[in-house]
Symmetry: C2
Subunit: 435 residues, 2 copies
């Protein structure tokens, strides 16, 4: 069936309810008309490349369930595509709504195409990472044309969203030098663009040729995820002029994208003290006119390497409850090493907890259903019922089984001192034996 629209946003603006909108509406307990209206306004992005045929579509927006992304992909130190594909499957099984393929080694095309052929999650990429690998030429030798051509290649391959650091310019070079940030630029893609500008003397191609980028994205319905090159890399840099000036530029770029019916997400911090997070989310919402905010963290302290899935769960939960729509997972290996399979799992679970806690706080429809079932199962010592609604039933069960209690109506934490046991007996007028 031929589509009489290029993008979900164009369809929404023409009053068309797409098949993707119908699916999203059902998943979110919203009407199709609500979803259409939000997509038309840019407040919900349905990242759905027309070439990603096996996609199970999701909507990204602050009024919908908070989505999470998992970064994967082969690298020089971990080049086994089969292992990586297993991680993808595990991530989808654990509830990741998006996978970003950050591969930076070898022949990246087959893996990317395998993803858009077999994986139902939204697929994202950062084309600038791939450019060096794709051409097998060092960064300084690449032309603006080369960089744009990689974006087109990813679009053709069915990628649903691409991170492009369009918001930094040659002006940023002076600003970063003058401002003396503690951590300068910690965005990988942002630093590559910065380095490319420094070495070539040219303007950021993703900024200079933004209109051409928009044409590519419009053609395939690729959502632009506007990268935040200047996201703070430590608490001290949070909310400084570099970050906020880039955000202002991302707001302008959002508007230009929407004029061509191209869907947009905006990327955000980063490292940030807890007390700044809510304000940052609100500023993004106003400056970027409600475009979905996709945050990496925020990490609420810098001193917990090995535990940044936790620092990021704290910040991510607050961010999502304050308006962020999409959380990029952070693993315990962040700042230290490439995550292994267990790190990936820990990162996903921490992000899911943050997203879920925020959804409850935001009163997303039915967000608390599972929590209510858990309460009932706990009160009645229905252990199977508890596992059924647990975020990771195997782990929970393993902990209980490893230190089994004497009596099945308790656990080994409290034994016969169990409050639930005492209360159930007390409310039934029974004798309560503790000793």
């Amino acid at each position: 069936m031929e589509r009489n629209y290029k993008t979900q946003m164009e369809a929404a603006r023409k009053g068309i309810i797409t098949p993707e909108m119908k699916i999203v509406a059902k998943k979110e307990y919203r009407t199709e008309e609500e979803i259409r209206e939000w997509v038309a306004k840019g407040q919900v992005a349905i990242c759905a490349n027309k070439n990603h045929k096996c996609l199970d579509p999701e909507g990204v927006g602050s009024m919908l369930r908070t989505k999470i992304n998992v970064n994967l992909g082969v690298s020089r130190d971990c080049k086994d595509y089969d292992v990586e594909m297993k991680k993808v499957q595990a991530a989808v099984d654990m509830g990741a709504e998006a996978i970003m393929d950050l591969s930076s080694h070898g022949d990246t095309i087959p893996f990317r195409r395998k993803l858009t052929t077999e994986c139902p999650a939204m697929i994202g990429t950062v084309p600038v990472y791939d450019s060096v690998i794709h051409y097998q030429r060092d960064l300084a030798t690449l032309t603006a044309r080369d960089l744009i051509d990689v974006v087109r290649l990813h679009a053709e391959d069915g990628v649903d969203f691409v991170t492009l650091h369009c918001g930094i310019t040659r002006h940023t070079i002076d600003q970063i030098k003058k401002h003396k940030r503690k951590m300068n630029i910690v965005s990988r893609g942002g630093s590559l663009i910065f380095a490319w500008m420094c070495m070539t003397g040219n303007e950021n191609p993703f900024y200079e040729y933004y209109d051409e980028i928009l044409d590519i994205c419009r053609e395939y319905d690729v959502t632009i995820s506007l990268g935040d090159a200047c996201r703070p890399g430590c608490l001290a840099d949070a909310g400084d002029v570099c970050q906020i000036e880039e955000l202002v530029r991302l707001g302008e770029l959002t508007k230009r994208a929407w004029e061509k019916d191209v869907q947009v997400m905006v990327e955000g911090p980063g490292h940030m003290p807890m007390d700044q997070i809510e304000a940052n989310m609100k500023i993004q919402q106003s400056i970027c006119m409600g475009a979905p905010f996709y945050v990496l963290g925020p990490l609420v302290t810098d001193i917990a390497p090995g535990y940044d899935h936790i620092t990021s769960a704290i910040g991510g939960a607050i961010a999502a409850a304050s308006g962020a729509a999409f959380l990029c997972y952070v693993t315990p290996a962040e700042h230290l090493a490439l995550p292994n399979v267990d790190d990936v799992k820990q990162g996903i679970i921490a992000s899911k907890i943050a997203a879920h806690a925020a959804d409850i706080a935001k009163k997303i429809p039915h967000a608390m259903d599972r929590d209510n079932k858990m309460g009932d199962a706990r009160r009645t010592f229905d252990w199977e019922g508890q596992w059924a609604v647990s975020i990771d039933p195997e782990t929970a069960k393993a902990i209980r089984d490893s230190r089994a209690p004497e009596h099945d109506d308790t656990c080994s934490m409290c034994g016969k001192f169990c409050a639930v046991r005492s209360m159930n007996k007390a409310l039934e007028g029974e004798y309560i034996d503790i000793l």
Copy 2:
């Protein structure tokens, strides 16, 4: 040297700066006069039993560094006192400011006395747990006198703070029955008092004989930690009439304690949706006139057994940033089993992260010093400098070493795509090789 005051609060009110206040002032970068004034008002508690000679005193108050407590103690399923003493030492080494001895098996006296003789952290207990064990008689057979005598015993033994569930009464029995909470009472001590009231037909002795309790606490300077029997045990019960009515009663009891110069902390939730936490902290602050708030959690979702150190780090960070002064750690084994050594470690680290993140948000003096050092160390690839300010250097180092990078100016996460490396070279005008 004879003290001419009974409690820190009495001294403060008489204008005396105690040795403990001097130490606290130094640790907190505050003047001795500031500390004295807060202790006099009850806004800071220095839990320091006169018989706990080896105590390294700490102040608990919302304007000071957030403190954390670690629950330990032998139980029927884990009866080795030597193992437990090693956990205590490990907890102190990891930065726990308080240890609650929740022992519920065997001869509890020697362990408790060992703690107050050898452990520099604040020691807390829940006397009602110990009562059944101490008398080796079941709950229904104990008299009000028996229960009060155990409080006196703990006070004599040098315990710095005791959790007493003074805020529930016979009225609570009807209220719990009528209100039909999903999880009734989940506080262990609270459920024991509830059960005792149901079985004996008597009033809560900790409420009925509160004045006598205060006299004991005044004599030894034991801080009363007013237990919240009705703290919500699931999100659905949060902020209900049972919880808030008890809080109102705890406010009244706080005032009565202060009239006798007895120091007070107030205990709080529990399970609670994120969006209710700040309001709950503010209500406690007003109802209890600024008495330090000691929270267990709050856990921001019910569905993550096995990961409740994370759900509690999210809630604890928000709580502390909104006014809570003291966080009780929660381990991954919560709701499932007695925590083992690794669970204890994971629980402590998650709590320390939450406390630290909140201290930064609250702008506690010097709270961000270590974070700033981390930023500098990261920018300069000073790995030793990073470990020096890390919350758990061994774990961080082990992750990096397990997947070592090719080049020392990167880590295996990004390799030569490292943003810090690219930026350092770019800002020095160097060529950036990526391939």
